[in-house]
Symmetry: C2
Subunit: 520 residues, 2 copies
């Protein structure tokens, strides 16, 4: 209820400072579009009245999705999407009534709740998610796995690819029993459904306004509904997705704020536009920051794009600067048009991570291509960026892949082929220096070969020609150079493992004792 300058925003304040009459505890019952009146009821007195309007704004927001699970209405099952529910959860926690909690859904709200419960309150926290990775709307598999590894390091119990089938109350101790597909039931004092939200468009629908199949109110670029005297904005509308061109429901407080200004301008006789969203998203989960924009590779494929994903790893500032953190960045690119379709990033330094994603987001409305990203002018100074920033490196890597200069292997393909299937048709060729490769050679034996990239020219005779070679280095850069050299020597049954050992370790595919500093 307070601004950034700690001013409380009461109805009295709005009246005094802005001539706005705020009516709290008042419900809008219906809209009479012919008479231009809204029927409202004072919830304290029960008195109803009709408020006339010239222009009307619908900002009814969203309501939480309620998964169709038997037992979802039991006491102890609390959905946290309003202040009152949050207070109810906090009361329960602060009275020491919760030892174990189950969160249903590993989207943004589920992940933020997991951090709050496990970190702030020290509660044994389980998260059940139907998809095979966390944050499925924002991240593809590899980066999502980095988040999973981090959540598990922070003692959050993840149950991926699982559903809650029922919630029961145990008569003997009053505990909730959460039935999970393919797993044993989990006994808990608190269950938090976090299955997203849907638009609250009931009032609009009953007034005969156009509402999309998603349930969201349909608006034009002026944010007018199908009745030009009625505007709508915020979590109750759908807006164009600027990458797919299709309408999308993307409820974000930031977009609601910007829509508010557009509506205000238009109400006052102006002609402001809200053209749509590129889908910018950010979240902090414990010590890891996550940001994304546009489409995931999976979502791009689902939308009919000929999509390719590109993963790069690089420090957030010059490598010789005393402190730096790695950023893991994935681009989604369109093979045909070479357009950037999306980007996602994970790293410890949130401002650096979001800074890169925002920069890519800003380039979208110009329909940026990988060449634009290669030359995107990130300001350079060692404390803030490398001379060739990770954003540029991602563009260059995408270019190499689309031009056929590189043959990338996704980290999960590496996992499947090298670790799960233990295919005898392929070998890892690690082109790092011997000290970095040694633990892997020791562990994998003859399946993990080490020839440092700078010695490769002189040791070409040692390179096996009867196997598929999975080229690996610290980040994927030197192994790309090795791939080029091997190609020149006619050895082209090779792939470059994207992001190298750094990504394999960060996403939990390879588990070693070494820390990141030891990599190369």
């Amino acid at each position: 209820m307070r601004t950034s300058f700690h001013k409380e925003r009461t109805p009295q304040y709005f009246h005094d400072a802005k001539d706005v009459r705020v009516r709290t505890r008042t419900r809008a019952l219906s809209i009479d579009r012919a008479k231009r009146e809204v029927r409202v009821r004072d919830l304290a007195t029960g008195v109803e009245e009709d408020l006339p309007y010239d222009r009307l704004v619908i900002a009814t927001g969203s309501v939480p999705n309620k998964p169709p699970i038997p037992g979802i209405d039991l006491p102890g099952v609390i959905t946290v999407t309003d202040l009152h529910a949050a207070i109810a959860v906090k009361d329960k926690l602060s009275r020491g009534q919760v030892n174990r909690a189950v969160i249903v859904g590993a989207g943004p709200i589920g992940c933020e709740m997991a951090e709050a419960l496990a970190d702030l309150w020290g509660i044994e926290t389980h998260v059940i998610e139907m998809a095979d990775h966390v944050l499925p709307g924002a991240l593809d598999h590899t980066l999502a796995e980095m988040v999973r590894v981090h959540l598990e390091e922070k003692s959050v119990h993840l149950h991926l690819g699982r559903r809650v089938t029922e919630i029961r109350e145990k008569a003997e101790n009053g505990l909730l029993e959460v039935m999970v597909s393919e797993e044993s039931p989990i006994a808990a004092e608190l269950v938090v459904p976090a299955a997203g939200v849907h638009p609250d468009s009931d009032l609009a629908r009953r007034a005969g306004l156009l509402v999309a199949p998603s349930g969201a109110i349909v608006v034009n670029v002026r944010l007018q509904t199908s009745d030009p005297n009625i505007y709508a904005g915020g979590d109750c509308i759908e807006i164009p997705h600027l990458i797919t061109g299709k309408p999308v429901y993307f409820p974000q407080g930031s977009l609601a704020n910007r829509q508010g200004r557009v509506i205000g301008t238009n109400l006052a006789g102006g002609s402001a536009r809200f053209d749509g969203t590129v889908g910018s998203f950010a979240i902090k989960i414990f010590d890891l920051s996550v940001a994304s924009v546009g489409l995931t590779c999976q979502s791009a494929l689902n939308n009919g794009f000929d999509a390719e994903s590109v993963i790069v790893v690089q420090a957030d500032r010059a490598h010789f600067y005393p402190t730096h953190d790695l950023i893991y960045l994935q681009l989604t690119v369109d093979r045909k048009t070479r357009r950037i379709l999306g980007a996602q990033a994970v790293g410890a330094n949130g401002d650096a991570v979001t800074g890169r994603i925002n920069t890519i987001a800003a380039s979208f409305p110009g329909k940026s291509t990988i060449e634009d990203i290669s030359n995107l002018e990130i300001a350079y100074s060692p404390p803030f960026a490398s001379a060739l920033d990770i954003v540029n490196a991602a563009g260059n890597t995408a270019e190499n892949i689309l031009d056929g200069l590189s043959r990338p292997m996704k980290p999960e393909e590496f996992e499947k082929c090298f670790l799960v299937e233990e295919s005898t048709d392929c070998l890892c060729l690690d082109v790092r220096e011997p000290a970095a490769a040694a633990p892997f050679v020791k562990h994998f034996g003859r399946r993990w070969l080490n020839i440092p990239q700078e010695t490769l020219k002189g040791r070409m005779g040692e390179v096996p020609r009867d196997k598929r070679l999975l080229l690996v280095c610290g980040s994927g850069a030197r192994s790309y150079e090795a791939l080029r050299r091997l190609d020149q020597a006619g050895i082209d049954n090779t792939v470059n493992v994207q992001g190298g050992v750094s990504v394999l370790e960060k996403s939990g595919i390879l588990k070693t004792e070494k820390d990141e500093e030891g990599q190369s």
Copy 2:
């Protein structure tokens, strides 16, 4: 000489790893374009030879400008633009031979040297700058003054609007005596000229290649010189400025890196482009980070634009997030086309500051307007941004100004009118809460009136109608609302002081005992 993975890059490494023959201690003497040969001399043996080429790349870089000052060649005057000079300076410092140093120029190199000398070595450091503010190429006056205040807090002595007229050696003690216009001479053991660099294009000029009046080699978007078999890149070329459309000399390691890839692609038969620069710049000066892109307001005016500047102040993340720092952001906008011409920012959190400037930079190639900036999709989450980020707020503020809804007053105009001239025709009307305004009311007496914005409607009778009112709040947001309300009441002899007390204090115009937390 080392990569981010600590690999040393010796000539041997380049030979082994990349088949590149690096010839150190070898000078390129001349180019015979007809024969396609470069004459080189081995500096160790004196032997000369002709190296044939199919394609040639000139990457001769830049040389430091040498100000035409008598005494500039004395021992103890050391220009730091190569490794050897840096080592010479460091030797002198580490032997304890320097108690006082004079830096000539307050551009990026001068400011970085000032930090190194004053902070790392504890030396009394003086900086002499001809312009009336530091970093004149990157910042307009107000934000530059914030840097000045910070440098002075860190004990750096700035002499702005001054020239070094001569450097003498004092016979009695061997000290250098630096003669400064309008000031007493400064005795120092070390003088560091930091007056920028110019392109090293001598080889190209003698080969008959087209060289611009600036001395930079002229290239096309493929980075070919006037001889299509000869490419050039890095600090020896000029490139198009994407805002003005004019060629510009903007030597930056980051651009050189990107040009290197473009040239490499084209040498190998590809057709990559380097379209130009938007002028992204960043620097860290002690605890302050500075970034800019595009044109300063002054430079935009010089280039014939009808430019206006807009200053906003806002936290780098949600105000309710436990830690946050203020960002001071200035936009340069074109009144006629509403295009963004430039942006500059200052703040303590460098990743947040550069993140915003990079985001604006990325929107330039699409020729972004203020409306684009108002809706620029900065990813929102409280740890990383406000729901309405400072970038959006800057766009909105620019819109208000260009649409005539606000009448901005520049902080330096406030200083001139209210503080220097102490004009009796104007009054400050401070619309913050009484506690925040009290020290100012106490100090300025009847010239500093306080009516909180939310009480203005009921206290309209107290507002003087015979004076020009300089409206002030913490950041310029509430004073804008006050301006609108006063306009409605017919009181329009008002201006809104841009950035409010926050900017006035940060730039040293108003000096108070209060810290930023006390402001509103």
